[in-house]
């Protein structure tokens, strides 16, 4: 609290900007998976560092919230630390690294391993919100494709994966269909996290600052990863237990530990891993 800087409005953004973002969030919740254009502001951090997520967090935070930020699952990376400090200073909110104690969680490219609850909000940082963008560069065309539900091109892309690699090689930012209507980019989360998108108890909000789009998944929304009958979606992960906590159900990062080809696999979700280690679980690489 002593760190709070009173020179800024609560949560940094001015009230008119927050109203504009809040209106976009409401329309996003009313039309799950549809990308609502919004007048994204310059933020005191570069594009690609979560300017969209930060603006959404600023619009949803209340003074009583407890805020957590993860970057690829970790609470202690530069991006996570700087955004957490940003809101400590400008909003005076309490912060935490413990998933279950947080009411608002801003994330870059992961969904926490621990299931989220009804009192929580998950805010994603999104680099490219348009799932069709790399297939069709024109916004006028992708907008038309969404309006006509013309998603054949996306299936062609997944099919070409199979033709080239024998399986769907897309491993992150894996496209999903929301409530049988909009195809949505879940942000570059690993496809391991895709099954958690649907039927989640928490509200999920997606902010793309540079691309000026906000979209949302209300709780308990139906989200289906695109696939084929003969090539069903598989939520894959590295086929190892975590080296530190021994977890076999969590998403793993591969860490190179020497220059002789040595490596270890550890949970990408640092809070989950630490929680398990505290509870006495030990992996084969734990000291």
């Amino acid at each position: 609290m002593t760190m709070q800087n009173d020179a800024y409005n609560f949560a940094y953004l001015d009230e008119q900007t927050k109203r504009m973002i809040r209106r976009a969030i409401l329309k996003g919740l009313a039309i799950p998976g549809y990308q609502v254009p919004f007048a994204s502001r310059e933020m005191p951090m570069p594009y690609g560092w979560g300017t969209g997520g930060v603006q959404v967090s600023a619009a949803v935070l209340t003074p009583e919230d407890t805020f957590k930020v993860i970057d690829q699952g970790a609470d202690d990376t530069t991006n996570a630390v700087s955004i957490r400090t940003f809101f400590e200073r400008t909003a005076g909110v309490a912060t935490t690294t413990t998933t279950r104690n947080a009411t608002v969680i801003q994330t870059r490219h992961r969904i926490p391993e621990e299931p989220l609850t009804e009192g929580q909000i998950l805010v994603y940082q999104v680099p490219i919100p348009e799932p069709l963008r790399f297939l069709e560069p024109r916004e006028s065309e992708t907008r038309k494709m969404h309006s006509l539900e013309e998603y054949g091109l996306m299936h062609v892309k997944l099919y070409e994966d199979i033709a080239r690699h024998g399986h769907i090689a897309t491993s992150y930012a894996y496209p999903v269909k929301v409530e049988g209507r909009y195809v949505m980019d879940p942000s570059p989360i690993p496809k391991f996290d895709n099954p958690k998108l649907g039927n989640m108890a928490a509200i999920q909000l997606f902010g793309a600052g540079r691309e000026q789009r906000i979209y949302a998944l209300p709780p308990y929304t139906q989200v289906v990863s695109l696939d084929f009958e003969d090539h069903p979606f598989v939520a894959s992960k590295a086929d190892h237990p975590c080296g530190m906590c021994g977890a076999e159900d969590s998403y793993l990062d591969e860490v190179i530990i020497d220059d002789a080809g040595g490596r270890m696999f550890v949970c990408s979700d640092t809070d989950y891993c630490e929680g398990r280690q505290t509870a006495g679980h030990k992996g084969k690489d734990a000291a």
Binding site: Q16, R22, L26, L29, V36, V60, S147, E179, L217, Y220
Partner: protein
């Protein structure tokens, strides 16, 4: 009258609107739940909940339609002073406020376009009371099913049929509010 116009807004806009938005967002994100919302003391016939919602969401960029008895000098002056929202008719409003009877017919409001379904009006419906009983609601935001006292059924069913186009509704009564986005499937009580 002048004192009424100048008072009744948020005394701490940043924090009060953050709380009010949390209520609106929870209501719209979880249709069928009833949320408390406070902070506004608007002139009659505007309810406290509707006043707080307007203060939280409206400004000079959002044309507002005041329907029926809500289109009075006291409300116009209060809304103009606290939000600056330009008053307008139903055809080009972003927000509309009134009783269910005064707001109709719904065909007058913008429902968005197929490429921009977000460009649709949000109707704030002042209700005598709100209870979690009545029409059965299913859809996004609802785990199995929910119930909400709606002023009628068919209007919301035909609105949902327009999805992804359509209107979104906020129901207000006193200091409480509920919401019904266009994505919600509305059926008769006990039909689920």
């Amino acid at each position: 009258m002048q004192a009424d116009t100048l008072s009744g807004g948020f005394s701490d806009p940043a924090r009060q609107s953050a709380h009010a938005f949390r209520s609106v967002r929870e209501a719209l994100g979880r249709p069928g739940t009833i949320q408390d919302i406070s902070g506004a003391r608007p002139p009659a016939p505007l309810s406290s909940a509707a006043g707080a919602a307007l203060l939280t969401l409206c400004d000079t960029e959002t044309p507002v339609y005041l329907a029926g008895n809500h289109d009075c000098d006291a409300v116009r002056a209060w809304l103009a002073f606290h939000t600056g929202a330009p008053p307008t008719g139903p055809t080009d409003c972003m927000f509309a406020i009134g009783t269910w009877a005064a707001l109709g017919p719904l065909s007058a409001y913008p429902i968005g376009t197929s490429e921009y379904p977000d460009r649709a009006a949000t109707l704030i419906v002042e209700c005598p009371s709100l209870t979690t009983a009545g029409a059965t609601l299913t859809g996004p935001g609802i785990q199995t099913s929910a119930a909400l006292s709606l002023p009628e059924l068919t209007a919301f069913q035909s609105n949902h049929a327009l999805f992804p186009l359509g209107l979104d509704f906020i129901f207000t009564s006193g200091t409480r509010l509920a919401a019904l986005p266009r994505s919600t499937v509305v059926t008769q009580e006990g039909a689920f």
